[in-house]
């Protein structure tokens, strides 16, 4: 037909442009990764970043609004680990199966893979991870504390310089704090079946520690409004001696407060009791494929490239984001970025997941509202209050 009309041969269809929705990473590491992957595809696709806000709640809000409206523009999603269940249950992301799934999970620390699994299927490729360590002043503390009680006593003994920086604002970080304490006490928010757990004894133990910390002079007056960044800024003033925080505080202290960084030590998160394992909440970004994408095959291919070990190394070096591939923790370049690489890997291997349920957001609200401010916690009665609030959230009942 075309020949008979004598028309010019059509140009080959232009390579599709994939869009990767992810938080606006300040170092430009993600942009470089995207560019490299597009080049590696040999022109099969272009990969563009659609930057989202830095605040995780606002990222989710924007994505969820688009996904609920079946936006076809979303190809790859930089998913916070807490969204896996919600996005999977709602059908907003495609499951990873077969060869791509194997490629996405090969050699990864198992907790990072677990963070992308819901109901036995893989919904995202582990990309970067994160977890909290205990940071302390080596010039004031000889042997770092092993338990919370020990740390609080040590801090109190140090007097004015004994402050402990932690996260006590009414937000998701408070839920993270509670989850780590609860898991280290041997409990869990949800039973493996998905129902309410929050057993009496460990929950009470976790609440007692929170109360003890908040009531102690070591907590400082700003605990009830402190997030990760306030804790970092506080520690960088040089006054506090302890801090519970993510790894981003290390490059920050070296840049902003070298004299603090020179005396900065790191160790594992304190235990609830010495005979029980310390289990810290895992964070990070996984890569999901938007369910309404026009180019699912390319999207999986591109996401696998973005999640590859090479990209992770780049994200670690430029962006300071810890990798999910275990072997990378022996990589000299990665070890230069994270002098505490072994500690980080060990913590990640024992890491605990936040409640893996589609209503995590509601559960987190219920927990942070019940436990804020920490100094008003009544360990005796608040176990029941908490069970009641989380139970209602699980049944998606009532306002939050």
């Amino acid at each position: 037909m075309c020949a008979s009309v004598g028309c010019v041969p059509r140009e080959p269809p232009a390579a599709p442009t994939l869009r990767w929705y992810v938080f606006d990473e300040p170092s430009g590491a993600f942009a470089e990764v995207a560019q490299r992957c597009a080049q590696a595809s040999g022109g099969a696709y272009r990969l563009e970043i659609a930057p989202l806000p830095t605040d995780a709640d606002q990222q989710r809000e924007q994505l969820v609004r688009r996904l609920a409206a079946r936006d076809r523009d979303i190809d790859i999603i930089g998913m916070d680990v807490i969204w896996t269940a919600e996005f999977a249950e709602a059908g907003w992301v495609l499951p990873w199966e077969g060869a791509v799934a194997e490629q996405a999970t090969e050699g990864r620390i198992s907790a990072t893979v677990q963070s992308a699994v819901y109901e036995g299927r893989l919904w995202a490729a582990p990309f970067t991870t994160n977890t909290q360590l205990l940071w302390y002043r080596t010039d004031r503390v000889e042997t770092p504390p092993k338990t919370w009680t020990e740390m609080i006593s040590m801090a109190e003994a140090l007097g004015e310089r004994g402050m402990i920086q932690a996260q006590g604002e009414r937000y998701e970080g408070l839920t993270v704090f509670f989850t780590s304490l609860l898991a280290s006490a041997g409990g869990a928010v949800l039973a493996p079946t998905g129902g309410l757990s929050l057993q009496e004894a460990p929950t009470r133990e976790a609440l007692e520690i929170m109360k003890r910390l908040a009531a102690s002079p070591a907590a400082g007056p700003a605990l009830s409004t402190a997030r990760e960044d306030q804790a970092r800024l506080g520690f960088e003033t040089g006054k506090p001696s302890f801090m519970i925080n993510y790894t981003f505080v290390w490059p920050s202290a070296r840049k902003n407060a070298p004299e603090v960084a020179a005396n900065m030590g790191w160790t594992r998160w304190p235990a609830v009791a010495e005979d029980r394992p310390r289990r810290v909440t895992i964070g990070g970004i996984n890569l999901g494929i938007g369910a309404y994408t026009r180019y699912p095959a390319f999207a999986f291919q591109a996401a696998a490239c973005v999640a590859s070990a090479d990209s992770q190394r780049l994200a670690a070096r430029r962006g300071g984001l810890p990798p999910t591939t275990e072997a990378l923790y022996d990589d000299p370049e990665v070890r230069r970025t994270f002098p505490f690489a072994d500690l980080l890997r060990a913590t990640l291997k024992d890491a605990v997941q936040r409640a893996q349920t589609p209503v995590y957001n509601d559960i987190s609200l219920a927990i942070s509202r019940t436990l804020h401010p920490m100094k008003d916690i009544e360990p005796g009665s608040d176990v029941d209050t908490l069970r009641e609030a989380v139970g209602r959230a699980l049944r998606s009942e009532g306002l939050l």
């Binding site: 809000e61 249950e89 709602a90 009414r170 589609p358 209503v359 957001n361 998606s396 306002l399 939050l400």
Partner: protein, 293 residues
């Protein structure tokens, strides 16, 4: 009925039809749909579990502490801002009414805050009250983190509202002032009425309809306050208003059933406020007019 009358009436309906149709599509349908949704347990995160639950969502909202607390917060903001706006607005209206020179300039200048987008105004004041970037602390010689405590956060929110919407109030009241005939005031003056007497006995009663409209508009507006709170505190420090609760339920939690119930309840509250206003003021206006010969 004569045939020309029937055709006339048909023509009338035909001419009205586009307006009625538009109203039906853009207001009646969304309201009806929101009501319909509010009767379901419908959460976008569990699209398969949609079930009819009758009025259970309403029971859930109305027995919730969150709803009543946000209602109290909303009323604090509404009453706090509207009262001050009325007083300030009146003062501004009188100034604009009496302005001898530069009338136009004064009126235009007063209107500037109202012309600024609410989100922009809210952000600007948020920065102004910020302890590190703002000028308010320096100006007052204070060291106050305004948005970290409940009472001061309310103060900032109410202040922003007042700053922004007083001009609107003033404009409506100015329209009312022009309704007061000058002869009447002059006559009262001749009879020996003082300025205060003239204001309370003549100006105010004659302006009642204008005050009603101004108060009604502003109260309804203030009751639905969302942007200022969202920008300045996001509902933290227990400053959540009913609209913020609606947003959180509907948009953040994607709980369409519960969220629609909240929206419908806000709508009902607005209707109640409107009815109360018209009842309270309306009868007195009627009586006033009935007494006058």
């Amino acid at each position: 009925m004569k045939s020309w009358m029937r055709s006339e009436s048909r023509l009338g309906w035909l001419l009205c039809a586009p307006a009625i149709l538009t109203m039906a599509v853009v207001t009646a349908y969304p309201i009806a749909y929101a009501f319909w949704l509010s009767l379901f347990r419908y959460d976008l995160r569990f699209p398969r579990e949609r079930t009819f639950v009758g009025l259970a969502n309403y029971a859930s909202v109305l027995t919730s502490e969150v709803w009543w607390r946000s209602m109290v917060n909303t009323l604090i903001i509404t009453i706090g801002s509207v009262t001050v706006e009325l007083v300030l607005g009146f003062a501004l209206a009188l100034v604009m009414h009496r302005a001898v020179f530069g009338r136009r300039t004064v009126r235009a200048a007063v209107l500037v805050p109202y012309g600024i987008i609410t989100v922009v105004a809210a952000l600007a004041w948020k920065f102004a009250f910020d302890p590190t970037t703002g000028f308010v602390n320096a100006l007052l010689g204070l060291d106050q983190a305004w948005l970290t405590e409940r009472w001061s956060a309310f103060l900032v929110i109410i202040f922003t509202e007042i700053w922004k919407t007083t001009p609107f109030m003033a404009l409506l009241l100015l329209a009312g002032l022009t309704l007061v005939p000058d002869d009447l005031l002059r006559a009262a003056r001749v009879d020996g009425a003082s300025a205060t007497q003239r204001f309370f006995k003549i100006t105010l009663p004659l302006m009642k309809p204008a005050i009603l409209v101004a108060l009604l508009f502003r109260t309804l507006d203030a009751f639905r306050i969302f942007d200022t709170v969202f920008v300045q505190t996001r509902g933290a420090q227990d400053t959540e208003t009913v609209s913020v609760v609606g947003y959180n339920t509907l948009v953040v939690r994607l709980n369409l059933g519960l969220g629609s119930a909240v929206s419908v309840l806000i709508f009902v509250s607005v209707v109640i406020i409107a009815v109360l206003f018209v009842k309270a003021f309306g009868t007195s206006v009627d009586r006033e007019q009935g007494e006058s010969p």
